[in-house]
Point group: C2
Chain length 144, copies 2
DNA sequence: TCCTTGGTGTCAGGTTCCTTACATTGATGA
DNA sequence: TCATCAATGTAAGGAACCTGACACCAAGGA
C-alpha cells in the first residue's frame, strides 16, 4: 500500500478532514476555556433542556461513562446543572446555566467561523452534496 | 440552534461520519487485537520502513508523545522493532516485524471491508467527488 | 405477587490523545 | 572554537474516549 493509494481512500480522507477540523476547532475554542466535547454537550443541551445524562450521551454518540467525564468538567465550571431529584426512574434532568448559555453563543460563533474557513471555495451545491454523501456514509455504517 | 439545523452543518456530518467509521473499524479490528491507531501506524510503517518515531508521528498527524503511547503497545506486542542505535542524531529507525506485517495484511482486509460498506450505493464519480471535497476541506483548514 | 427486563447512574481500569517541560544531539553562524 | 538552534526522545499529568461490572428503579408478564 503506497502513500498515494492511501490518500485516495475515502476512509483516509474522512479521518483526515475530521482530524483537521477537530484540531482547528480546539484551537479556536481554547481562549474560551472549553473543548469540542464540551461544546457538543452544550449545543445538545440547548436544543433539548432537561434531557437525562444517558439520553445526552446518545445524542452525542458517546457512552454514558464518557459523557460523565465531560459533564463533570461542565458542572465544576458552572456551565450546566444536574437536578438533585430524579424525574422518573433514576434519570436526573440536566440543564444549561445562564453562564453555559452565554458561553455556548460565543463558542458557536467561533465554530461557525472555522466551518466557513473549511468550506472556502466550495459552492452551495457542492456543500449540499458533501453533506448528503457523508450522511449516506454514516447511515450505511450504522445499519447493523 | 435546532436539531435539524445542526444536522445540515457540514462540520457536524464530517464528525458524525468519522465517528461512525472509527467505531465500525474498531469493532472489525477487535478480533485481531489491534486498534485503529495501531493500524494507522503499521500502515505508515509499511510504506516507509526505518522511519523515525517523530517522522512517523507527523505522518499520522499526532504528536511524538501520542505516538509513543501507541508504539509502546506495538512493541510489547512484538509488531514493531525500534533500533537500539540511532542512525543520525537521536532518531532511531522503526520497522515492522514479520508478525506486524502479517497482522497488517489481515487488518487491511478488515478495514477495506468496512470502507466498502460505508460507500454502498455511492457510484465511482461521487466517491471521487467525496475524496476531492474532503481533501479541499482538510487543506483549507491546514493553511495557517 | 414476584421476577425479569430495560433504562439509568456509577466505579474501576485501560487507551489514545494532548500540553508542558527537559535532556540530548547534530548543524549552523558569530 | 563556541554558542545557539532545531530536531528528537522522554517524562508527567490531564482530558476524553472505551469496556466491564454492579446497583437501582420502573414497568410488565408469568
Amino acid at each position: 500500500m503506497s502513500q498515494a493509494d492511501v490518500r485516495n481512500r475515502p476512509g483516509y480522507q474522512v479521518k483526515r478532514a475530521q482530524q483537521a477540523l477537530h484540531q482547528a476547532c480546539e484551537r479556536q475554542l481554547r481562549p474560551l476555556g472549553i473543548s469540542m466535547s464540551k461544546y457538543a454537550v452544550l449545543l445538545a443541551l440547548a436544543d433539548e433542556p432537561g434531557i437525562s445524562s444517558a439520553a445526552l450521551a446518545r445524542r452525542c454518540f458517546v457512552t454514558r461513562q464518557s459523557l460523565q467525564d465531560v459533564l463533570g468538567g461542565l458542572r465544576s465550571a458552572g456551565l450546566v446543572a444536574v437536578a438533585e431529584q430524579a424525574g422518573t426512574g433514576r434519570a436526573r434532568p440536566v440543564t444549561l446555566t445562564d453562564e453555559g448559555a452565554r458561553l455556548l453563543r460565543e463558542a458557536d460563533r467561533a465554530i461557525v467561523e472555522v466551518e466557513n474557513r473549511m468550506l472556502a471555495g466550495i459552492d452551495r451545491a457542492d456543500r449540499r452534496r458533501l453533506v448528503e454523501l457523508l450522511t449516506t456514509c454514516a447511515e450505511n455504517l450504522n445499519e447493523d
